[in-house]
Structures are given as structure tokens and as C-alpha cells.
Amino acid sequence: MAEEKPHLSKVLGPVHIWALGVGIVLVGEFMGWNFTVAKGGTLGAIIACWVMGLLYTSLVMVNTEMGSVIPEAGGQYAMAKYFMGPLAAFNVGLMLVFEYVMLEAADALVVGEILKTLSPHLDSLPFIILTLVGLTWLNYRGVYATLTFNFVITAIAYMTIFVLLFSTKFFIPGSSLLKLAEFTDGLPYGWIGIVGAFQFGIWFYLGIEGTALAAEECRSTGRSLPVGALTGMVTLLIGATITWFVCSGLVHSKELGASVYPLFDAALATGMPAVIALLFAGTILSCMASANGCITDASRAWFAMARDTLIPEYFAAVHPKYRTPYRAILFQLPIALAFGFTGLLDQVITFSILSALLVYLFTAVMMFKFRRMYPLGSIERGYLSPWHPWTTLLLLVLTLATLLGMYFGYWLNMLAGFLFYSLASLWFALHRYRFVDREKLISEGASRWPRPVGY
């Protein structure tokens, strides 16, 4: 008989899932998205924002349908092990870990850099380390406190965007601070500029799919995951549109396309000290929320892979008191610190985005397989993704278009990324696979569901 697997505590509700998804993403509203303006112009930026909104809405729906029937840690990794096999699962798990650990490192780097702007006497290094260690400590102590904290800081950061919007008096035509007619530049590079803008348009939503990684810790996965993920997506669509609107009206497109902190620069343009201070705090809080959620997600992916024996089982231990995957959480701290100290922020972020896009490709393929293996009515679903296969096809096509846009600017990074995952696959197939306990890998799903169609 197989040994019983370690399990995490079931304490999360929809609010925590919302906090996990929106928390990881919101930093993309405060920085990064604005490079869409440099690539595609102001109009290209909002088109990219909404087209990418379609990609992520499809992704969230597809993810939530599959996630709601798999109450296991690891999200897309857990889906891959059931619908695609061990090698694909290993790759998806590894991609998730790199996506989140690298994003976590980048977030901490930005916190240090922002704080340094307060005074030349302030060092960024102790604050980068404090961010990573502090959030790791929080994650180590329990997922409920971690995501409750994330909810509070994410909500505050999100509200600062609304404060900025209303401070411009956009609703009073004569006194509005917004100068959309003067500051915007339309579509300077035509339609190809929009494709180029896609890779930065994903910043508005990148990471919302991470909600599925905490499926095992939900009190009711079938309810918490759909409610948390879908309300999170709506929150982000509203936040992204307001961010574009307020930044485009306060900062000239030439400056906006090159800005490091676009929302903060927009706050500076209002000339109101209270708004500037709030957006400064909002930028830091959004980075912290993102890093916090990334630690939660990366550790769950690593833990789930270890529990299924795809990597050494040592990392599958659960803390006896806090019920957290404490070894997986601690293991990733030095890795995040190491990425942080490379100082190559753009390279770190590009690898994170590439990993995320590859996971989306796998997700689309898995959804087709899932619906074929378990047609509607064969198992109980907590959520049903509407308009399948069109939403899944849209996800596939838009992900490929984004990869194409990325290829124009970062083909060497993409090549390096593909090489890395190919080598990792070789290592897994030639060395690690013989240690994989195939019964343990799919035992939970096999005991829950009927035999799939065609097997």
C-alpha cells in the first residue's frame, strides 16, 4: 500500500484567492505595462491591454474549470500530471517555480531601489534582504496570515489608483488635470506596433493564473477558486483601464513609454503632495504583495513536485504546527536572493515571462485533453468554462502572438530559455524518471474520478 501523502491545511476562502491573484499582478499596473506605449503608442497600449485582457480572461476560465476539480497544490502542474504525463508535469512545475521565484527577486529589487530614492544615505541592499526574508518568514508561519496580509496591502495599493484618478477631477471638464488630446500619440507604428506591445501588455495581468496553485488550501475549492479568480480578473480589468487612462492623461507619451514608475510619475504630475506620498506607498505595497504571493505559489509548485517524487521527496515535508511546506519555502530563499543579486532585472523578468507564456501553451493543450478525457457530465465541476473550445483557441492564438512579439526583441533570451528547459527535460528523462513513483503521482486523482474516456 502506498504511504500517505502529506497535506496542507484547508483554511483559505475566496478573499484569500483574490488576494493571491491580484496581489501578484498589481505591481504590473505600477510599472512595466507602460513599455506598451513605447512599442505601440498610446492607442496601441490600450488595444494591447484589452486584447491581453481577453487572453487572461480565457486563461482564468480554463484554469478555473480544471483547478476546481483538482483540489491539489501546484495548480497547472497538478493538471499537467493528470492530463499530459510526468515529463510535461515536470516542465510545467519547473516553469511555475522559475516564473514566480524570478518575479519575487525582481519585486524585492524594486522595493530596494524605490526606497533608495528617499535619500542617498539609504542602502537598497538591507531592504531587498528584509523584503525577501520578512515575506519568507510570513509564509513559513502560515498561509492564512500570509494571504490576509496580502489582502490588506493589495487593497490599499489598488485604492491608491482610484485616489489618483479622482484627484485629477476628470469628471469636471473645465478643471480636469488630464490632457489626453495633447499627450497621446495614437498608433505611431501601426498594427505591428500592437503585436510588439503584447509582451508588455501582459504586465497588466501576469500572475493571476497563480490562484490555482493554492487549490489544496481552499476550504471549498469548487467555490473559492472560481469566485476569487474571476473577481480578481474583473478587478484587474478595471484597474488596468484606469491606469492607462490616468497615466496617458497626465504624462506625455514620450515620457510615459520610458518611465520606470508610471503611476508614481503620474502622481508627480498632479503636484499634490498627499497623492504623491500615497502612490509612493502604493508602489512599494504592490511590490511586496507580488513578492509575497510569488513565495506562496513557487513553494506550492516545488512542494507538489516533491510530493509526487518528480524531485527529491525531502521538499514535501509539512510543518507540524503551521501546516506550511516549510522546506520548500526556505529552499527558495537563497535562490531568490541569488537572482536578486545578479542585478540583471530585465533578464530576470524576461525569463519569468517566457516561463509563464510556456505554461499558458500547456494550459490550452491540457484543456483540450481534459474535455476529451472527461466530457461534460462525467465528473462534477465546480466551474464550467463557457464557449469552449473558442476560449481555449483564443488563449492558444494570443499566447503564440505574444511569443512572436517577444521574439522581435528578445530572441536570444527565448533561445536560452528553450535550451534550459530542453536540458532540464533531458535530465529528467535520462536520470530522474527512474525514481518517480508513478502510482503516487496519480493516485489521488485516480481515486476521485472514474476512468477517463479512451483509457
Binding site: 539609504l122 542602502d123 538591507p126 519568507t136 518568514w137 513559513y140 507540524p320 516549510y326 526556505l330
Partner: protein, 39 residues
Amino acid sequence: MSLWEALNWTAWGLSALMLGLMALDFVRVERERASKKGE
């Protein structure tokens, strides 16, 4: 020492404190695990 330098040291101190607390707890849990396995 200026306020900024004090903040730098506070950040270092807090990092060391939390790292220490985690390390102590980790060692305690691992010892308990090892002793349970031994039994």
C-alpha cells in the same frame, strides 16, 4: 549616526532576527522529525 543609517541598521537587524527565528524553528522541527523516525 543619521536617521537613514539607523534605518539601514534596523533593516539588517530585522532581517537577521527573522532569519534567526526561522533557523531555530527549522532546527527544532528537524530534530523532532529525526527523533520520531528513530523511534
